[in-house]
Assembly symmetry: D2
Homo-oligomer: 158 residues x 4
């Protein structure tokens, strides 16, 4: 976790979410655990946009479970806020990869949270498994050639 305090965004993917009542808690703000759902949304949409569906990885017998998750909460999102999830795919190795996240208010770009997730690569039996060449190269390609700003693109409409 040596680099965990440094949560940089490099050419991030961006998508938006509207805060539901079901995301909030009695404090009037998004429940702290629910930001990990937004992180999931961010990394899934990033990969989909770059032509890799996580579901397809699974169909090939690969699972990439979270082995570490970290969040630093700066401000609170409230019911009905329109928030923006920025996700950077930071690195990929044969057995692991990492995503960084920043979530901001869309209206004034106020920072809500920064965080990261570290993932292992395992098979359906839960055993550590090396990424096959084609997928490793495709993932590395995402990092080497990150997408341009994409808030208005089709995938953001779900």
């Amino acid at each position: 976790m040596a680099d965990s305090t440094k949560i940089e965004l490099i050419a991030p993917h961006r998508c938006r979410a509207r805060v539901l009542y079901g995301d909030t808690d009695a404090g009037g703000v998004v429940y702290y655990g629910n930001y990990l759902r937004y992180f999931e949304r961010g990394r899934t949409e990033l990969m989909r946009e770059r032509g890799i569906s996580y579901r397809e990885l699974e169909d090939r017998g690969l699972i990439m479970p979270v082995v570490e998750a970290y969040s630093r909460y700066k401000a609170s999102a409230r019911y009905d806020d329109l928030i923006e999830i920025a996700t950077s795919f930071i690195w990929v190795k044969r057995l692991s990869c990492r995503f960084n996240y920043e979530i901001r208010q869309t209206a004034d770009q106020g920072l809500l949270i920064k965080g990261f997730t570290l993932h292992a690569v395992v098979n359906h039996q839960g055993k550590l498994t090396k990424l096959p060449d084609d997928i490793f190269i495709a993932l590395q390609e995402i990092i080497d050639n990150p997408p341009v700003i994409n808030l208005t693109k089709k995938h953001d409409r779900l």
Copy 2:
């Protein structure tokens, strides 16, 4: 609940959602309780599109809690499915209102679930409260002049 088995859609509002891992359960499908989150999304987006923000109602001291909810599950949505939430605002009275819902697979329009929610109108102390004229008329207007098909409109991009 006399009319509860009849769940008709009249000129419904439509919006889409992508099924997250966090929405599913170990059965491989969306957890049965999580469809009520999609219902919430459907009715909130319907009202927003017609110029009424539920958050603004709350700012005027009005809350519309669910007093009945019903779901009939026809088929299961899976991880990464793109689903379509169709919501109809069926009627509004001074003290209550009702929404009907249908959720379908976007790809083949296969029916996943039908349901309804019945809402009361209360104040912040939880006491039944009549809708003021302007809001009642604005809500009735939504029913009398339902939106046209709107899948490509701005609000669908969140």
Copy 3:
């Protein structure tokens, strides 16, 4: 759904839950969809106490998905409330079964919600499947010989 408004409890199983922040919403009360989690807890604990583990049913290739769920909300549970989930196993047929629920405040027994779930019996391919004799008889036995009041029993301690 002819009998859905009549939600009777017959010799119910009872267990308790403490409301987490994560169960509530910005209205300060339990989110309406989260009561379906409490229903799940109620029926699972009822079956476990009577010697039937739902996980074991699954290991035998049987799944009992919810095909209808209904909730009537009477009052709101708040953060940190200790609530009591009363569950009745109402009937079982070869292809379906039904549970009724009541959730009350433990402190004053104030009614929070009544509801029911209707379940189908399917195999792992999702095809309707008749319950085998031994399980059908064991389930019928639960209904014919309901448990006595059990709030202090071991299973309530989790």
Copy 4:
């Protein structure tokens, strides 16, 4: 976050939870974000046992939101597993405090996850606020005189 990799348990409080279907995801295991609900349960029950209700703190105008959360996932809990949440109250200052967590399988004590949460002290307007003397002393007392092993005590029955 200098000390974040060192997640020690000192005289931890222990309570148990049964994994619901609603806690799991399509991978067949508890969704990674839902462990933060277990963390919440752990720290709330720890404080309740030592005579401090978090709800009472709120009634006195104090909120202790999570400002950092970290989880290291070692193994996966599955549906119906009985898990044990061990929580240590590590330190308290006038403006912040920290809890460490370990969650294990009850059956074989297999480690599932380690983590921590760091909390700030704020008032209802979200402004950093010093803990008043009596509460600070009461919290410090928890740390100086941790509870003995308590799995069979009344509070564990919820």
